[in-house]
């Protein structure tokens, strides 16, 4: 029986937009024609290795279950999901801050003073950890997108969200009041695939690290 092909999970969205050009010209470059189509399984320049394009929040599950042997995902997503997978390298790109952001003029002190603080976020786990460190309590408003609208429309007093350049915040009249943590792209691997087939998986992992760290 021939060995099944190796699947690598790549993120769609912001991180994917940074990743795809970095892979160009490497053994794991994505097939340009397939990228233009709507297919989500893309051949790479290495025979027997294909890429899956997945939403960041779904990606770790594919890797933890062993469907994809390797993947690239933001450390913010990894920390939120806490799945059983290996995190082989910090790839350095996609760097951003996880910040508490509020309308211009609102300070951390004024948020602390609120008797009932409401925070909208896609990152409840990191937010809870920060609240615990700060000795604060808050009502968490779970959102999956467009968190910037929440303070403007009164859904929450502030948001905890990823900030890269700050352009989106500025466009909505929001400012960072404090930084909770940092995030960057991480190379992850399925525990089973990495430990039971290192001869197949490690060279690919090393090729990805070499391509992405130096691009």
């Amino acid at each position: 029986m021939t060995q099944p092909s190796i699947l690598i999970a790549f993120p769609k969205g912001r991180l994917g937009d940074e990743l795809v050009p970095k892979l160009a010209g490497t053994p794991l470059a994505l097939d340009a024609e397939a990228l233009k189509s709507r297919v989500l399984r893309i051949p790479t320049a290495t025979p027997g290795v294909a890429a899956l394009l997945l939403k960041g929040a779904d990606l770790p599950r594919y890797v933890a279950a062993g469907v994809a042997s390797l993947g690239i995902v933001g450390s913010d997503t990894l920390d939120e999901l806490d799945m059983d997978l290996l995190e082989l390298a910090d790839l350095g790109f996609g760097a951003c801050r996880l910040s508490l952001c509020a309308r211009s003029g609102v300070t951390l002190e004024s948020l602390r003073a609120k008797p009932h603080l409401r925070l909208a976020t896609k990152f409840p786990k990191a937010t809870e950890a920060w609240l615990t460190r700060e000795g604060l309590t808050a009502e968490l408003v779970p959102l999956s997108s467009s968190a910037e609208l929440a303070p403007l429309l009164g859904l929450a007093d502030a948001i905890v969200d990823l900030v890269q350049t700050g352009g989106t915040l500025k466009a909505h009249g929001l400012v960072e009041t404090t930084v909770l943590g940092h995030s960057s792209a991480r190379l992850v691997a399925a525990r089973g695939a990495y430990l039971s087939e290192p001869g197949r998986i490690r060279p690919l992992a090393e090729a990805l690290i070499a391509s992405l760290r130096h691009s």
Binding site: M1, R186, G192, S196, P198
Partner: protein, 322 residues
């Protein structure tokens, strides 16, 4: 919150027959090597651990047997003044699943090698490794990989640096993820950050054959871990000449699974392409002293439920007749 529906496996004809056949073959192998079966009760009435399946029997809170090693240790400590040297077990354990795909009821076969305190343990460790090496053949696995590790490679440097509690847990979690950058993040400005990060890099640098042991030379704790390295070296010298065909031996210096339990050498059996280890074990010398018995122990457990799943999903990994 993740949605979990408990998975209680019903085994239909082929799987039920396979379980019966494998259980019999493995217990036969253990018996031929002097291991005698003990069968601890399915119901625990004393310690009711977290993660076990619990229920009330009248006013009494009871639990189903959740782990053979712990159940056997209680039985042995209560019923024996001198330890029987070799015991085996077979049956089901019941645990609340941590991962959504894990079953509540899990079938296992395993063995324990128990010795009075102070008796040399090297021979016992090699005996267990040799037994585990025979298991892929008994199960009809076409090929397998045996990982040798040693919990002391991480435990001793942490103890030497006085690292305990959450900080030690964070370092172990980072090593479990094989993420040296997370070790550095976890230690922040700790005085031992540089040394422990360099140690993590050394442990994670290789995952290969006997030559992997040389990676320990780059560790700042190379002298502290000299005894462990020599022990692993001796074990490899004993095992390599008798390695069965289709079994690969690898040294995994960064094996930290079960670090709170294991104290010395660890063993893990994999099949190429399997998503989970198929058998695991090691030395756990702190278990019996904690129960008031000055005994040391090591053992391993074959996870038959995972093997049954593997036989369904990857039949190509097994000889046809099995």
């Amino acid at each position: 919150m993740p949605v979990r529906t408990p998975h209680f496996p019903d085994l239909l004809f082929d799987s039920a027959a396979r379980l019966r056949r494998w259980e019999g073959a493995l217990m036969g192998l253990l018996e031929a090597h002097g291991y005698r079966e003990l069968h601890p009760s399915l119901v625990l009435r004393e310690a009711v651990p977290d993660g076990s399946l619990r229920f009330f029997d009248g006013d009494d809170l009871v639990a189903l047997r959740w782990d053979f090693t712990v159940s056997l240790a209680g039985l042995l400590a209560r019923r024996f003044t001198a330890p029987p040297p070799r015991v085996s077990y077979a049956g089901a354990v019941f645990r609340r699943p941590v991962q959504p795909w894990e079953a509540v009821e899990r079938f296992e076969v395993g063995c324990e090698r128990i010795q009075p305190e102070g008796e040399a343990s090297g021979e016992a460790d090699v005996e267990l490794a040799r037994l585990l090496m025979a298991i892929p053949g008994v199960l009809g696995l076409k090929s397998a990989i045996l990982h040798l590790g040693n919990a002391a490679l991480v435990r001793r440097p942490l103890e030497a640096e006085g690292l305990t509690g959450d900080l030690a847990d964070a370092v172990v979690a980072a090593l479990s993820r094989r993420a040296p950058h997370r070790v550095r993040e976890a230690l922040g400005g700790h005085a031992a950050a540089g040394r422990l990060a360099a140690h993590a890099e050394a442990l994670l640098s290789e995952l290969d054959g006997p030559g992997t042991l040389n990676a320990l030379k780059a560790s700042p704790y190379a002298d502290l871990l000299k005894e462990e390295r020599e022990h692993m070296d001796r074990a490899l010298s004993s095992l390599l000449p008798i390695l069965p065909p289709n079994l690969e031996l690898r040294v995994d210096l960064a094996d930290v699974a079960g670090l709170g339990f294991y104290t010395g050498p660890t063993l893990r059996l994999w099949a190429p392409g399997a998503q989970q280890e198929l058998a695991a074990g090691g030395r756990y010398d702190r278990l019996f002293p904690g129960l008031g018995r000055p005994w040391q122990a090591a053992g391993f457990c074959v996870r038959l439920s995972r093997l049954l799943d593997l036989a369904e999903t990857r039949p190509d990994l097994f000889e046809q007749s099995r």
